[in-house]
């Protein structure tokens, strides 16, 4: 332990009152005093109690409790991640009411809220430690190549509802905010390995070190499987990733957080029976990021944060991609993003917390196939958010974000929420907000002859959301309830505008895009958590969703409007009528845990897909046996997971008829973890 406390332990001054007393006494005192001086250093002194501590949990550092958040939020913590037994990060969102998690194939998950119009779920903002991984050109999130290991996630906050005012642009339907474990969270070495059916083969090594001023943790990971293991698709993948998180805190005011990550993924593509456009082949993706955050805490509680990050992502799909001539070109994409943001949080008086910030971003996209020339986008944003505690039980959250999206649009997204604690631990929340989604690069600027040719001139999509929510904590019963009713109107939804080839038309392609539809989403979501003693916990989610669409725009070829009407009618089946999940975690014995997850989703069919997705009733089980001392050297765990135990094999998101009948079968895998 470092003895350099703020208060210096001075040597004791021999008071002058000893002058004139006997020498013997002086000598005795001189002998005694040094000992007691030494002793005073080691035994208690009043300074232990009177010392001044710096403010650590300042207002800006404290998480808003769910009952005071301006939006409905779901938090997925490490206990839930463990109990679920999921290997892939995207699967974790099955634990969020109203969230859709599907697979295009074994390595392309689709995570969408309020349905989606295609495989690129682009109506949610996704952040990892404040870094937006929602990238051009498709404005999508590629879950499998984010250099992030599932065991390094501390918690995930999912904001259900537009949150542009606090989380930035493109959070039309909501925000997924992934928070990774801090640099100081690991002070040892941990190795794990997973083996299972379907070619599941994972390995990971985690190493960390803590010291007074500097903490860091390093992860090396490898993840591979054969995807759906079906002859109809080539969808196996192998991911290698490495990341580092280091935190330097030289004093109680400043903290510098550095993150570096790299991943390399090889994925199979190809659909049997569609060799003309989708041959069996391998593709490569490499992705890296660097991120630096500086946090400065002022003595009176203010805090300033400066965040810079750079993301580079490159996808290589070499020719031939298909036997037809237009598929004999490679599809290589490269994205470079730089982003710099400043945030300041402060207290204006005892009842008012204000946070404001500004940021700039540059995105450079190169896509041989889709864009004739590389595109550069410069985006800037300014946001402000105020939390006003009107009385001890009434809270008003008001905020707005102004954004210039670099495509000629300037949008302002406001949000207003009122939380009222009508009894202790019982809260009602009423909120309303507006948010925008800027057109994706491929929607606005595509130039891939015969495939995607953008006319351009698109307006951003806009959502106007209203909701009323209830949160109740019944701690005597170990119960908490979180529920809401919402009505979201999306206008100017961007959808495919076929430009046709030939006359009479031989093909609907090339496609352009236009602002064609408006959609109404209404529904109910709820989460109930229950604790029974120290050993049992249950989380139940349920959502009822309704959607309908209306045509509000014109296709280039107006005679196609009736088919657009058909698409608008399909909207209703785009969201599942009922969906939900049930997660039970039970501590059976001191070292044995059992968990079960049940996931339900009624039949649904996304707009533009070739067949409906069958009803899903899936049960996953996990059993884990710990050995040795928990998280100490020589300790560890063996866990066995079976997914879809009841073999209720369901179909998935299918873009083409050949993949309509690929089923998610039962699969099992075993994981062993050892600590050093």
């Amino acid at each position: 332990m470092d003895n350099s406390t703020k208060v210096a332990r001075q040597t004791i001054n021999v008071p002058s009152l000893l002058r004139g007393r006997s020498i013997f006494l002086l000598q005795l005192v001189s002998i005694i005093l040094p000992i007691s001086a030494f002793a005073a250093n080691n035994t208690l002194s009043e300074q232990d109690i009177l010392q001044e501590f710096p403010v650590v949990l300042s207002a800006s550092r404290l998480f808003q409790p769910l009952s005071e958040a301006p939006n409905a939020m779901t938090v997925i913590d490490r206990d839930m991640i463990k109990a679920s037994g999921f290997r892939s990060i995207a699967d974790l969102f099955r634990l969020v009411p109203g969230m859709y998690v599907g697979d295009l194939d074994g390595h392309t998950p689709i995570v969408a809220y309020h349905g989606s119009t295609d495989q690129y779920s682009r109506r949610m903002q996704v952040l990892v430690d404040g870094r937006s991984v929602y990238l051009p050109p498709f404005s999508s999130v590629d879950w499998e190549d984010i250099p992030l290991h599932i065991a390094d996630i501390e918690r995930i906050e999912v904001v259900r509802g537009p949150a542009a005012a606090s989380h930035g642009s493109n959070s039309l339907h909501g925000v997924i905010n992934i928070i990774t474990r801090e640099a100081a969270s690991l002070d040892s070495t941990r190795i794990s390995a997973t083996r299972g059916e379907g070619g599941v083969s994972d390995m990971a090594a985690h190493f960390g070190k803590n010291s007074t001023d500097l903490d860091f943790r390093v992860t090396l990971g490898y993840r591979a499987d054969n995807g759906y293991d079906s002859a109809a698709m080539n969808d196996s993948s192998a991911t290698r990733l490495a990341n580092l998180r280091a935190n330097y805190h030289p004093n109680s005011e400043d903290s510098f957080d550095l993150q570096l990550g790299y991943s390399e993924v090889s994925r199979g593509l190809g659909v049997a029976g569609r060799e003309d456009e989708n041959l069996f082949r391998d593709t490569w993706t490499s992705s890296d990021f660097q991120q630096l955050t500086w946090l400065h805490a002022f003595p009176q509680g203010d805090e300033v944060k400066v965040l810079y990050y750079h993301i580079h992502r490159s996808v290589k799909d070499n020719a031939p991609r298909g036997t037809a001539p237009q598929y004999n070109t490679p599809d290589n994409t490269k994205v470079e993003r730089h982003d710099l943001e400043l945030q300041h949080s402060t207290e204006l008086g005892a009842n008012n917390r204000l946070i404001w910030g500004t940021g700039v971003r540059s995105d450079a996209v190169e896509s041989q196939l889709n864009l004739t020339i590389p595109q550069s986008l410069y985006q800037s944003r300014f946001f402000v958010h105020d939390e006003w505690r009107m009385t001890s039980s009434a809270l008003l959250n008001a905020g707005a974000m102004y954004e210039n999206d670099g495509m000629g649009h300037s949008n302002t997204s406001p949000r207003l929420a009122f939380n009222y604690h009508f009894m202790p631990q019982q809260t009602v929340r009423v909120s309303t907000s507006v948010a925008y989604r800027s057109p994706a690069t491929v929607e606005e600027n595509s130039n891939s002859p015969g495939e995607l040719v953008s006319i351009g001139g698109l307006r951003p999509e806009r959502v106007f959301s209203k909701e009323i929510g209830y949160l109740g904590e019944f701690s005597q019963l170990g119960l908490s309830i979180n529920a809401r009713l919402y009505a979201d109107q999306v206008s100017d939804m961007i959808f495919i505008d076929p430009l046709l080839t030939g006359w009479p038309p031989t093909s609907l392609k090339p496609y352009s895009f236009a602002n064609l539809l408006s959609a109404n989403f209404r529904g109910f979501e709820s989460t109930v958590k229950y604790h029974w003693g120290d050993n049992t916990s249950v989380i139940v989610n349920y959502a009822r969703q309704m959607m309908d669409c209306e045509i509000t725009g014109q296709l280039t070829y107006t005679f196609l409007q009736p088919s657009l009407q058909e698409i608008a009618d399909q909207c209703t089946s785009s969201v599942p009528w009922n969906s939900g999940s049930f997660l039970l975690a039970q501590q059976v014995a001191h070292d044995l845990t059992f968990s079960a997850g049940y996931y339900y989703q009624s039949e649904l069919q996304f707009v533009g897909t070739s067949a409906p997705q069958s009803r899903m009733q899936r049960l996953d089980l996990r059993v884990a046996q710990a050995f040795g001392e928990k998280e100490k050297s020589g300790g560890g765990e063996i866990s066995f997971v079976v997914q879809n135990v009841l073999q209720d094999n369901y179909t998935n998101y299918s873009a083409v008829p050949q993949t309509n009948n690929i089923l998610f079968n039962r699969r099992a895998y075993l994981t062993a973890t050892i600590n050093f």
Binding site: M1, D2, N3, S4, T5, K6, Q10, I12, N13, V14, P15, S16, L17, L25, V29, I32, L33, I35, S36, A37, A39, A40, T43, L44, S45, E46, Q47, D48, I49, L50, Q51, E52, F53, P54, V55, V56, L57, A59, L62, F63, Q64, P65, L66, S67, E68, E154, E182, A184, D187, N210, T212, H249, S252, P424, Q425, E473, S475, Q476, K630, E631
Partner: protein, 291 residues
């Protein structure tokens, strides 16, 4: 003539009642100065001559010395001919002084600065009645550890103890304790809780959703959930009563904890941890009721 003798006698007895009290402050300013100023204002009306001095000043003739802080207490404990009353010292510090300087002819006593363990446990019981797993950290076992264990048992609390050894370090010990505890009671120990370590301690326990009960107002402002502590003014009040009693009996009471105390709650941390805690005034009455 008789009147003269009488007046002289009266004068003599008046003089005899004047008590010379010297207050020796271990440090300048802050809590120490607050104590002496408050003491002075409490004693204004009595026939007490109060002399407040710093460490390196001569003491002079005193009937009673008030040593404020361990430094003054240790230096003055050698004074065997004057009654010494120590304040602002922890109980363990006082015990050590008694051990190092035994066989005092005259009175030696104290008001401890730390709070009795019962008061701290009663605070936890009043603020967090549903939590029973209390965690404590220490490098060397506190002298009154058995008392702590017993008092916790009496209140049906399960005490989890975690030793911080140089080998394992504070982080590891804290993580281990956070796994087992629902709330941590911070026992004053500058080796564990100091300006350099407090950041990691408060952040780690906050992340683990475990509140920490502190031991001072500064600790609570830093991010502790709540604390009981005695202010310099309250201790001065109690000291004034002791001085008044001493001026009549020339005996000091036995060493004791401070009778008066305050309860402070960090409302922001309370809300953020989603805890429903009674207001400080209610906590205070609840603790008082049990004593």
């Amino acid at each position: 003539m008789a009147w003269g003798t009488l007046s002289l006698l009266i004068l003599q007895s008046t003089f005899a009642e004047t008590l010379n009290v010297t207050v020796v402050l271990s440090e300048e300013g802050g809590a120490y100065r607050e104590f002496s100023d408050s003491l002075r204002s409490r004693l204004e009306k009595q026939n007490i001559l109060l002399n407040v001095i710093a460490m390196n000043q001569p003491v002079g003739d005193s009937d009673l010395i008030i040593a404020v802080g361990m430094k003054a207490a240790t230096a003055l404990a050698t004074f065997k001919s004057v009654a010494i009353f120590n304040v602002f010292i922890p109980k363990e510090g006082y015990n050590k002084l008694q051990h190092d300087f035994p066989k005092r002819a005259v009175s030696f006593s104290a008001i401890y600065l730390d709070q009795p363990i019962e008061r701290q446990l009663d605070l936890i019981a009043a603020a967090l009645p549903n939590l029973h797993h209390i965690g404590i950290l220490y490098a060397t076992p506190p002298n009154d550890l058995n008392t702590v264990r017993q008092k916790a048992l009496e209140r049906k609390m399960t005490l989890h103890e975690q030793i911080v050894s140089p080998a394992t370090g504070l982080s590891v010990a804290l993580q281990e304790l956070l796994r087992k505890s629902e709330v941590i009671l911070a026992l004053p120990d500058a080796e564990i809780y100091n300006a350099a370590t407090i950041r990691n301690i408060l952040l780690a326990s906050y992340r683990a959703n475990v509140p920490i009960i502190g031991f001072s107002s500064s600790f609570v402002r830093a991010g502790g959930l709540c604390a009981v502590f005695s202010t310099p003014t309250q201790i001065a009040g109690q000291t004034a009563s002791v001085i008044n009693q001493f001026s009549e009996t020339h005996i000091l009471p036995a060493a004791q904890y401070a009778h008066e105390f305050e309860v402070l709650v960090n409302m922001q941390v309370t809300r953020s941890l989603n805890l429903s805690i009674p207001p400080p005034a209610e906590l205070y009455s609840e603790i008082r009721r049990k004593q």
